[in-house]
């Protein structure tokens, strides 16, 4: 079943040089991710979570080792090829939402489809669908500034899933949200994961998130110290 993995990293090493000091942000990380996974990467701040997502997301290249995403070796891609890979297959969700402030909710979600060159009809259909998933159809015409943080993050999720990418990478998606919104977001993502079979990988140190994941990878100082299957708690209505 080796070939069914969407993402394979082998002895991934990322070294940052700060002056004469060298720092291994990732230290021989070998991990595989299958289709439809719902995985959390946890670990203290500075343990290399973001660096890992960066490389999987083809935003950065490893110093050593290899990362294969959807059959493509990230370290071998040109800038342009990396952009195409991201455009077609990877959705990003950020801690700070990063919506485009001058555009409406609808237009923010529509943007990735414009980049893909879809027709107006196709775009409309997909955007409405995505807004339905995150339950924001009635806010389609609002601007980001008129939305709450939770709503913004739901728009960001819609924007990430609207093109139905194979992989969604979320870096600390709940760090700027309160408990209720965090749960809300996670339930939405879990549903999408089940319905669309999208692979979700979170970098987080938020306990609330960890309760939902089905696999938990622990990083410490750039090394994988634990990789365990989880039995996600259904956290219906649970606060902090």
């Amino acid at each position: 079943m080796e070939n069914s993995f969407l993402i394979k990293t082998k002895d991934l090493v990322k070294i940052y040089s700060i002056g004469w000091k060298k720092l291994a942000a990732l230290d021989h990380v070998s991990l595989n991710f299958a289709k439809a996974e719902f995985t959390g990467v946890v670990g203290p701040s500075g343990s290399g979570k973001t660096t890992l997502l960066n490389i999987i997301g083809s935003l950065d290249v490893p110093t050593e080792g290899s990362a294969e995403v959807l059959g493509k070796k990230v370290e071998d891609l040109s800038n342009r090829q990396a952009a195409v890979l991201r455009n077609h297959s990877i959705g990003f969700i950020f801690q700070t939402f990063n919506l485009l402030p001058v555009y409406t909710v609808y237009e923010n979600v529509e943007f990735p489809l414009l980049l893909l060159g879809l027709s107006a009809d196709e775009r409309k259909q997909k955007v409405i669908k995505a807004l339905e998933w995150v339950d924001l159809v009635d806010r389609a015409k609002s601007k980001p500034a008129q939305l709450s943080g939770g709503e913004c993050q739901r728009v960001a999720i819609a924007r990430a899933v609207v093109k139905k990418p194979a992989i969604i990478l979320a870096d600390e998606p709940t760090a700027n949200l309160d408990a209720e919104n965090s749960h809300n977001i996670l339930r939405t993502m879990e549903e999408l994961n089940r319905e669309l079979k999208t692979t979700f990988i979170f970098a987080t140190h938020d306990e609330k998130v960890i309760r939902y994941v089905r696999r938990k990878i622990t990083l410490v100082d750039g090394k994988v110290t634990k990789d365990e299957a989880m039995n996600p708690t259904k956290a219906e209505g649970i606060g902090q």
Binding site: T50, L53, N54, G57, L59, D60, V61, N79, R80, A82, A83, V84, L85, R86, N87, H88, I90, F92, F94, Q95, T96, N98, L100, P101, V102, Y103, E107, E110, F111, P112, L114, L115, R159, D171, E172
Partner: protein
């Protein structure tokens, strides 16, 4: 995508308003400046043509060499025949003979003694022949201030200011004291029919307009004239045609060395006009280039500020898989929209102002007190076909240049840092 960018522009004022305003102002200034220069040139050419140089002018070779001294002793004889020939050969032009003369104007009292006296700069033109066009060329009817226009021989017009200096009223007698073509003293009595003001300061200083046959009689210049002016029928100067006529005319006399044979020159060729026109031309080019550079720098900075402000947006777009080339081109597209809007508005408003300045004019006689160039005191702008793109193209160009340079930052952005930057 274009629609998407356009929406962004409309909604984000700082993305559109400042750059549009910059382009707008730059284009506006360029258009008005250009219209103004064109107006000034037209004004200068027109005033010179009517009062002094014609569009082309024929003089004797000797006269032409010392034209500034009005050397009537070097005027040519046989003007009648030459004028007829010119009229026949170049019917597209109006041909008129003129004599310029200097001297004293003496105003006698009742006893015939000198009451007032002053130096005069006179011009003798054909006032009374059937085919004369001088009334149109000099616009005499409009220039009249007091009295009436000359109706018969012996009547002259003098400048209004000059009349006030000499205390002379229309209807009074004035005696011209000058010298004949052959150097002896000449005196002739005239009646001042009226006073005039051309609105050309250099012309109105000590001006006297007399009929050419009177002056011929007074100065012993039978069938002679200092100069024959040719003006295009519609009074619009055409450089190429004028040069053609000049070349053809002068070729006809090329073989002979006689100093009293006629020679033709064009308007720009006379009394340093060509240098002046060239200077104005290169001045406008310089100003235009400076405008473009200045506008580009301002817009470049606006672009830099914009990309700082839009750092997050650009980051997300890169993360979402927009290629750098695409993003760069979209910034350029935006700037072209900005350039287009600003340039259209700037040209439109600039044209409106130019039109106003063309119809209304501004009186600059105060600045012309000591000027020796012929220049109408009311300065007007002028709309020429070039004015429609003289601001427009630089406006587009400056936005394009400014954004092309500032947008290079997109290429310098490292995707590896996007996540961290976007988290901040």
């Amino acid at each position: 995508m274009i629609k998407f960018l356009f929406k962004g522009l409309l909604r984000d004022r700082s993305r559109s308003l400042f750059p549009i305003l910059t382009v707008f102002l730059g284009v506006l200034l360029t258009v008005v400046f250009y219209g103004w220069i064109q107006g000034a040139l037209t004004n200068m050419i027109d005033a010179n043509a009517r009062f002094s140089t014609g569009h082309v002018k024929v003089m004797s070779r000797a006269y032409a060499k010392e034209v500034d001294q009005i050397p009537n002793d070097l005027a040519f004889i046989g003007v009648e025949k030459l004028t007829q020939d010119l009229r026949q050969q170049y019917p597209g032009l109006i041909w008129v003979s003129r004599i310029k003369f200097g001297g004293l104007l003496d105003i006698p009292d009742e006893q015939g003694e000198t009451r007032d006296q002053g130096p005069v700069a006179g011009m003798a033109v054909d006032l009374f022949s059937a085919e004369t066009r001088e009334w149109d060329i000099l616009n005499l009817a409009d220039a009249l201030v007091r009295g009436r226009l000359p109706e018969k021989k012996g009547e002259i017009l003098i400048g209004e200011k000059y009349a006030l200096q000499l205390n002379v009223e229309p209807g009074e007698t004035a005696t011209l004291i000058s010298s004949t073509m052959y150097g002896s003293m000449a005196m002739a009595n005239f009646t001042v029919a009226g006073t005039i003001r051309f609105g050309v300061t250099a012309m109105d200083r000590g001006a006297m307009i007399a009929d050419i046959s009177d002056i011929r009689a007074a100065l012993n210049m039978e069938d002679a004239a200092g100069e024959i002016l040719g003006l295009f029928n519609d009074f619009v100067y055409r450089d190429e045609r004028a040069e053609e006529i000049k070349a053809a005319f002068n070729a006809g006399y090329a073989k002979d060395n006689d100093e009293f044979l006629p020679v033709m020159d064009t308007l720009p060729g006379q009394s340093g006009m060509a240098d002046y026109l060239k200077l104005v031309g290169s001045m406008s080019v310089t100003v235009l280039v400076i405008y473009i550079i200045a506008m580009s720098i301002v817009l470049w900075n606006a672009g830099l500020m914009g990309s700082l402000r839009r750092y997050g947006e650009i980051g997300v777009r890169l993360a979402m898989g927009e290629t750098k080339g695409h993003l760069y081109r979209s910034l350029i597209s935006e700037s072209l929209m900005v350039g287009f809007i600003g340039s259209v508005l700037g040209t439109a408003v600039g044209l409106a102002i130019t039109y106003f300045l063309q119809e209304k004019g501004i009186n600059i006689s105060g600045m012309m007190k000591n000027a020796s160039i012929l220049f109408s005191d009311v300065m007007r702008a002028r709309i020429t076909p070039a004015i429609f793109f003289i601001g427009f193209l630089p406006g587009m160009m400056a936005t394009f240049l400014g954004t092309s340079i500032s947008g290079i930052g997109v290429y310098k952005r490292k995707t590896a840092n996007l996540m961290k930057e976007l988290e901040a």
